[in-house]
Symmetry: C2
Subunit: 329 residues, 2 copies
């Protein structure tokens, strides 16, 4: 496989000139440019990024940290990141931590060892101390989930307000007995969404019944089913459920159906995220739409700016309440 030296020899020029042609510098005569291009074609030459990257001290790789690829929530964000990255000649290394610190460390090492130029962290379970420390010497952006204290710039939505809007919608259509399916409060978004839930209830003088708040360990479908099972078995059964993720809500939906009740007539359901699948269920799911694709592109742009040495500011994006069948018979 040819290298730049051989191209230079073949074209009868120096390696510097070949490099200039490769990088589209305008200081090269049309004539020599053609000589070089001919040589490149003739030798089937492809410049090695290994050499270029070492020389430039960059990898042009962006590391994306997510807890689970299987969580569809990340799909559109990743798409957004990839679009923005590619347009600036970066590639993305998608890293699933599985909330496993060991795996996380493998990926952090990639940045420490210069194999990645920066990180977009979307993992709520990330070791924030390590991340903060890493941020001293490396470019890092938080996306969706974040820690304010870390000082690391983030893109996100106002989770509390979004949850507030969701629950307010349930109240407006007549519900007063509303359950909350939440996840572990060690996650910031869980605390924020619960705060929004409380705020909506309190604003309408509906007492917050702690018995109707359920905490799941994770965001998966089965956890939604389990929580709903408990809710269905509880005394003073709620007429509506707000789940902090679509996957949980879809689990709840399935459980309500299995129990022989109807959504939304017997129990209304609201989710959060507007994943693709929220439109495929029966009934379709009312949910909060986050601007995921945009969040992704912005995160990538912030990261690339940061890599270039710019100062970047955190951004809070808008969201939308999407009303569908699960709250409107």
């Amino acid at each position: 496989m040819a290298n730049i030296q051989q191209v230079a020899k073949q074209a009868g020029v120096s390696v510097a000139t070949v490099s200039r042609v490769l990088n589209g510098q305008s200081t090269v005569t049309a004539k020599t440019r053609i000589k070089v291009e001919d040589a490149i074609k003739k030798l089937n030459y492809e410049p090695s990024l290994l050499g270029r990257n070492l020389r430039n001290s960059e990898s042009r790789i962006l590391l994306i940290l997510i807890p689970k690829i299987a969580n569809p929530f990340y799909l559109d964000i990743i798409n957004g990141i990839e679009t923005a990255a590619l347009s600036q000649n970066y590639n993305i290394l998608l890293c699933e931590t599985d909330s496993n610190p060991e795996r996380e460390n493998i990926y952090f090492d990639l940045v420490r060892k210069k194999m990645a130029d920066g990180i977009i962290s979307m993992d709520p379970a990330v070791n924030i101390d390590t991340l903060t420390e890493l941020a001293e010497r490396h470019a890092i952006i938080q996306c969706s989930e974040y820690s304010e204290d870390s000082g690391i710039p983030y893109v996100t939505i106002d989770n509390e307000e979004a949850a507030y809007r969701a629950v307010k919608h349930l109240i407006k259509i007549g519900h007063e007995n509303i359950a909350l399916i939440n996840t572990d409060e060690k996650y910031l978004y869980a605390r924020q969404r619960k705060a929004g839930y409380r705020k909506a209830l309190e604003e309408h003088n509906i007492p917050v019944n702690e018995d109707h708040i359920y905490y799941t360990q994770q965001l998966g479908f089965e956890y939604g089913q389990q929580a709903m099972k408990k809710i269905l078995g509880s005394k003073n059964r709620p007429t509506a459920v707000f789940a902090v993720s679509d996957l949980l809500a879809i689990g709840a939906l399935k459980e309500i159906n299995s129990y022989g009740l109807n959504v939304p007539d017997d129990i209304a359901v609201v989710g959060f995220d507007k994943i693709d699948f929220s439109n495929m269920t029966n009934p379709t799911l009312t949910t909060i739409a986050q601007p995921m694709h945009r969040m992704g592109t912005i995160a990538a742009e912030m990261l690339i700016d940061k890599i270039k040495g710019a100062d970047v500011e955190s951004i809070i994006l808008d969201y939308e309440l999407v009303i569908r069948e699960s709250t409107s018979g």
Copy 2:
């Protein structure tokens, strides 16, 4: 940021010795090893993979080519690949082509330019000519979808037999009027699964009615809905549907429900792939389970072997028919 020179200086040894310590070579005295390790710690040194990779002419990155991240079918395969890759110190670059040749070429270039050591292609729409040409100088494995002619090793299942089993199951429980929701026959798996469908019908002397074979452009949910809409409007309405992907089947499910019919009482449905969601629908979906995780690990191992210069053989894995609610009242 410290480099190997500074560590050598600090430790009072040569860079060669530092390198030896870094790579765990046993020819180093315990005493010097400790000196070096102390220096590393003191300087907070992290070896640069850029330097190492250039020197070793490798990137230790595996490129995974898929058409759409949003297709849940790939999730488990990717997981399998990642597990196997990490255990051998490789990382994966997940590349979504969107069936866009331009994007595909960006990714191919990464291999040509040494930024990736090999490719696992899972994109049915891949440009097989380019891939074949690339395979002359680079390590490539096909996973799930493949082209026999290309001569590129593959891991897959016997699609024809799997489809045959699925349709046979429908026949066994009493169906004779069975529709097929297929995708474009330019894809090998589409041709194979259709062949399995035909084989099952013919074996039971059921005439194949071309009017009951529907072709969709893609594998998405909406395409399943559309196809099912046509099926429901056709004369001599089928009592069962075999869809060549779960997403199509779930679309069909939704359409049947909206139409006011019951699954499986009025129409039975079988899908293909056993994606996570196939268990979350109402009713749950009978489907063909591919050993996705295993397929992924095997593909990764084959690729790494090939990178090392070994000869690798194609492999055909087993599948399973998973009977659930959509075919059993």
